[in-house]
Amino acid sequence: MKTLFQTKPGALLIATLVLAIAASAQTPQTSRLELSSLDHLAAKASQTVDVNIDERLMRIAAKAFSDKDADEREIKKLITGVKGIYVKSFEFDSDGQFTTADVEAVRAQLHGPGWIRLVNVTSKKEGNVEVYLLMVGDDIGGLAVLSSEDRELTVVNIVGPVDLEKLAKLEGQFGVPELGIEKTKDKAKKDDN
């Protein structure tokens, strides 16, 4: 009797399965968050800001800043390797314009594999600020900040290698809002929520 692998369709099926498993294992974790679920809030917001510095723009930015000037060299160093900076920010005229479900749609993605929540972060800004890092092995593959106040909701998503020191220096530049984030300790704790 022929085994499954010895028949032509069987061999094809097994090969396909093996390839699919191998491909899924090799798929790199992406630190780009899907934020379109928040788009509906724009209709209620007094101000919506959408910053999309994609890979194409990051390449342009890296090219524009020179190595000769010290300040520019610093900026160039900050953005080297970064594949994208995405910001979505909503300001409302009254309380209760966004729901827990809106925030949870973003937070759920940050509970995915590789993401850790930093517990050693404080913000000068009032409200709730959560900072997450995507770890790819020992390296940082991305960063996300979820900031919510009664009348404000902001998500900052940096794709590529970046750390909190870099984020602090990027605040107020490249469309990254002032979040007043400070790292108080060096440890990051695995988010187990």
């Binding site: 917001a45 919506t48 800001v49 959408d50 723009l57 342009i60 930015a61 524009a64 520019e72 900026i75």
Partner: protein, 180 residues
């Protein structure tokens, strides 16, 4: 195939080809046309006095010894103005239409929308050889402007550091300062 079906197919094919041509050809004119069609408005050209004003502004910059900053490279400004018209419509739908049309060649740098004040600002960027093209679309309750300029690498840095502020300054330079 019935004749009606052939006609419908032909119309759909022509529309598809036209919209593809919109995005790939002159994007500035395509955006102006898109605003006209979406909001049912009509743009105005740059008035003669404003053109004369551009020369005056350049002279003023020279008199000041070049201290006045000018963002746009000389002769690169394309401007369309919509004055005292109604811009009623779903801005999310407009934003999606705009992004879909420009996505291939332009990167959407910053998009700011205020539902309560009925204001929208869209800033797109693309490479143009050694320089950069910036497209700034501002739509308010009764007025709108579409500005396309070429930026030097030096001014691009300012745009990247402060996209909203520089985008606003580019529009002001094209519409207000040049008309002074």
């Amino acid at each position: 195939m019935p004749r009606t079906h052939i006609r419908i197919f032909a119309v759909v094919a022509v529309l598809a080809l036209t919209s593809a041509a919109y995005a790939k050809g002159d994007d500035f004119n395509a955006v102006v046309k898109m605003i006209e069609q979406f909001y049912g408005v009509k743009h105005e050209g740059i008035p003669f006095l404003a053109r004369a004003g551009m020369g005056a502004a350049r002279t003023a910059a020279r008199i000041k010894g070049g201290t006045a900053r000018r963002f746009a490279e000389a002769g690169s400004v394309k401007l369309a103005v919509f004055e005292d018209q109604k811009f009623n419509g779903e801005f999310l739908k407009f934003r999606n239409t705009l992004n879909a049309a420009l996505n291939e060649t332009w990167s959407p740098l910053v998009q700011t929308v205020s539902a309560t004040d009925n204001e929208q600002v869209y800033i797109y960027l693309r490479e143009a050889g050694e320089k950069y093209n910036v497209l700034v679309i501002t739509i308010e309750q009764r007025d709108a402007t579409v500005v396309q300029v070429t930026l030097s690498p030096e001014n691009l840095k300012l745009l990247l550091k402060d996209p909203e502020g520089t985008g606003k300054a580019i529009t002001e330079e094209a519409t207000i300062i040049d008309q002074e």
